[in-house]
Symmetry: C2
Subunit: 386 residues, 2 copies
C-alpha cells in the first residue's frame, strides 16, 4: 500500500495538512501567537510555514515564483519537480533545497511521502495542468495551478473533483487579485462607488515576434494540445477575470471575433481575439487580446465616472486612475502575496478566493468565446451556474 | 430666371467663387501678398475672406462655430439661417450680422443672391443634411456639412453629385483632422514610425442621462429619421474616422454588436455599439461607442510600440502619448482651423481634405456595421471603392 493511498483514506485531511505543516514548522501552540517571533523550532523556522514545491521550472517559475518565494511570509520553497537534471542542480543550490525534495515526472507521486511539501504549484504547460493537479491531490497535497486552469471545462471539473475527494485545497495563479490595484477596482465596481458599471474595455496582449517562436516558453503556447488556445487563454483570461470581479457578476452571453495575420505561426491557436461580454446587470465589456498587439488596460465607465488601471496586468508597475485623479497605491510582489494568501487559507482552513471554481468559470466563458468564433460571431450564452 | 440658375450656368464656378470672394474682401492682387496687412479695402477688411453662413443655430453653432468664427483668419461669419426669430436677433447683435444676411428655411434659397455668403455651413439635424447641402449647392454656394454627412450612403452620393454638378466645393465638419494631435497620429500610423499598426482600440461615447432626453439637442438624436442612428453615427463615427486615417486604409469588413439597456429611451436608435474593423494591411480595430458610457480614447499598437490620444475626441484638451513619452503638442481652436482650411481650399481652388468622399466612406462603414448587427454579428464586407 503506497502512502498516497494512505493519506487519501485518512479524513479529515484538512486537519491532517494543518498538523503536517506545523509539525514541520513550529509547534501547534505557536500558531496562536504566530505574529511573535519564535526561534529554534524543529526545522529552525520561527513561524508557521507552508512548504511549496514548484512543478515545472520554466520562465515563470524561474523569473517570478522562485524569487517570490524569498519574499513570502508564510510560504517557502521546499521542493522542485523537473525533468531536467541541470535545472535541479541550479535550483537546489540557489534555493538550498535538499536533494530528497527533488522529483522528476516519474517520481512525482512520491511527494505524498514528503512532509516538507504541503503545496504543489503546477507551472507546467496548460495541457498538463489537469493531470498534475489531480496527481498532486491524489498524493494528498494542496494545489496551486497556474492559469488557465486547464484546457477545457471538463478538465476543470475533474480537477475540482479530485481535490474535493482528497480533501485538498485548490487555488489558481490569479496573482492580480492580490494586488491593491485590483482590489481597489473590485471595490469601486462592486460597491458602485461611482455608480454602476455601464461598460468596460479590458485588453491584455503582447507581440510575439516571428523570431521568438522557437523559444521553449513560446513554442508550447503555439501548440493547441499543450496550450489549449492562444492569446485568449494565456492573457485574455486576465481581461475576462477583471470583467467578472469588477462587476461582481457572471457574464450571461458572449460574442467574439478571431483574426490571424500570421497563419504560418498561428495555425493552431488564436493570434488576436476581440470578445464582448454581457453582464446581467447591464454592463458590457469589449475585450481585446493578442499575440500580435500590445494591450494592457482595464477601463470601467460608470454612471457617474470611470476608473482605470494602466498598465493593468503586468507583474508590477500597475497604475490606477479614476475621474477624480490618480490612485495612491503601492505595487507589491504579486506572486508572494498570492502564495501567502493561500498559505493562510491552509493554516486557517479556509477556501481560496481564487479557488477552482474561478478557473472553471473563466473556462466556461472561454469555451463560449470560441463557440461564438466558430459560429461566425453569433451570440453564445454562457452556461449558468458552475 | 433666378440667380441661382444663373450661377449654375456660368462655369467654371470655382473661378466664379474665387472672384466673388475676393471682390467682397480684398482685391485679387492682394492675394499674392496675403501675408502682409492690407487695410481700407472694399468691405474694410485687410485680408482675403470667405463669408460663412450657419444653417441651424443649435448647441454646436452657438457654443462652438459662432465663437470659432471669431478666431478664424480667413473665414468670417456673414450670415445665418434660422427658423427662430429670437435667435436671429441674438445672433445679429452678437456677431454684427446685417438683417439682409438673415434667412429662414423658407427664404433659404435666396442666399444664391447674396455675395457676402460664400459657404453654407449645414449644422442641422442629420436627417436634414442632404436636403440643405443640395439646396446650398443649387444656390451656387460651397458647403460645409456637419458629421455624419447624411443618414445613408445614397444621400451622400446625391450630395456629392449636387456639389459637383454646381461646381461647389463640399467639406465636412471633421474638426479633429485639423488638430496637431490627430495629424500626429496620422503621421505615426501612415509613416509606420513605430512599425505598422497591428491593432487599435478607438472609443468615443458619453452618457445621456434619462433626464436629458427632453432637451432639444438630445431629442432629435433619439429620433431615427432625424438622426439616422444613435451613438454610432453621432460619436462612433470619430472612432471610425480615426481608424481610417491612422492606417491610411479603408476597412474591408466589419462585425458589430448592439446593446440596449434603456429600451424606453433607445427604442429607435442605438445606445451602445461595439464594432470591429478589418483593414487590408492586417490592422484590426476594436471600436466602442455609446450614449450610456464614457469613452474617449484613440489607441494604436504597432509592431514596435504604441501611440495614444486621450482624451482623443473632445473640442479641446487633447493629450497624446507614445511608448516613448508624452506628445508635446498644443491644442487649437479645432473649428477655426477646420473652417480656415476650407477657406484656403476655396481661395486656392483645392479639394478639401475632408471632402464628401470622406463622409460617404464613413457611411459605407456605418451601414456595414448596422448590417452586421442585423445579421447577428456576422462579418459584413464594406463595399470597395466609393
Amino acid at each position: 500500500m503506497d502512502s498516497s493511498a494512505d493519506w487519501v483514506s485518512t479524513p479529515p485531511s484538512s486537519r491532517r495538512h494543518f498538523l503536517k505543516t506545523v509539525s514541520r514548522g513550529v509547534g501547534g501552540a505557536a500558531l496562536a501567537s504566530a505574529a511573535g517571533p519564535l526561534a529554534g523550532q524543529a526545522a529552525g523556522r520561527s513561524r508557521p510555514s507552508v512548504g511549496v514545491a514548484l512543478v515545472g521550472l520554466g520562465n515563470y517559475a524561474t523569473g517570478q515564483l522562485g524569487p517570490a518565494l524569498r519574499e513570502t511570509s508564510i510560504c517557502e520553497l521546499t521542493g522542485i519537480v523537473t525533468g531536467t537534471p541541470a535545472k535541479a542542480d541550479t535550483w537546489t543550490q540557489k534555493y538550498d533545497i535538499p536533494e530528497s525534495n527533488v522529483y522528476d515526472y516519474e517520481t512525482f507521486d512520491q511527494v505524498a511521502d514528503n512532509p516538507d511539501i504541503d503545496v504543489i504549484y503546477v507551472v507546467l504547460p496548460n495541457g498538463m495542468h489537469a493531470e498534475y493537479t489531480i496527481r498532486a491531490a491524489e498524493a494528498g497535497k494542496h494545489v496551486i495551478c497556474e492559469k488557465p486552469m486547464a484546457t477545457s471545462v471538463a478538465e476543470c471539473r475533474s480537477m475540482i473533483d479530485a481535490c474535493e475527494k482528497n480533501d485538498c485545497k485548490l487555488s489558481l495563479g490569479y496573482r492580480l487579485q492580490f494586488t491593491p490595484h485590483h482590489q481597489r477596482v473590485m471595490k469601486l465596481g462592486q460597491d458602485e462607488t461611482f455608480g454602476s458599471v455601464t461598460a468596460m474595455q479590458n485588453g491584455f496582449g503582447f507581440h510575439i515576434p516571428d523570431s521568438a517562436t522557437g523559444q521553449p516558453h513560446i513554442q508550447w503556447r503555439l501548440n493547441k494540445e499543450m496550450a489549449g488556445g492562444g492569446a485568449l487563454v494565456d492573457v485574455g483570461i486576465y481581461a475576462i477575470q477583471a470583467g467578472r470581479y469588477v462587476t461582481g457578476e457572471e457574464p450571461v452571453a458572449v460574442t467574439a471575433q478571431e483574426y490571424t495575420t500570421r497563419p504560418d505561426i498561428f495555425d493552431e491557436v488564436d493570434e488576436t481575439v476581440f470578445f464582448q461580454l454581457e453582464f446581467p446587470g447591464g454592463a458590457r465589456m469589449n475585450g481585446s487580446t493578442s499575440y500580435n498587439a500590445s494591450f494592457n488596460r482595464l477601463y470601467a465607465t460608470t454612471s457617474d465616472g470611470w476608473f482605470e488601471l494602466r498598465p493593468a496586468y503586468g507583474y508590477g508597475g500597475l497604475q490606477g486612475r479614476t475621474h477624480r485623479g490618480a490612485m495612491d497605491l503601492s505595487n507589491v510582489n504579486q506572486q508572494a502575496q498570492q502564495m501567502d494568501a493561500f498559505g493562510r487559507c491552509i493554516l486557517d482552513d479556509r477556501t481560496s478566493r481564487v479557488a477552482g471554481i474561478e478557473g472553471l468559470r473563466d473556462l466556461q466563458i472561454i469555451e463560449a468565446i470560441y463557440a461564438s468564433i466558430a459560429a461566425g460571431g453569433q451570440r453564445v450564452e454562457v452556461p449558468g451556474g458552475a
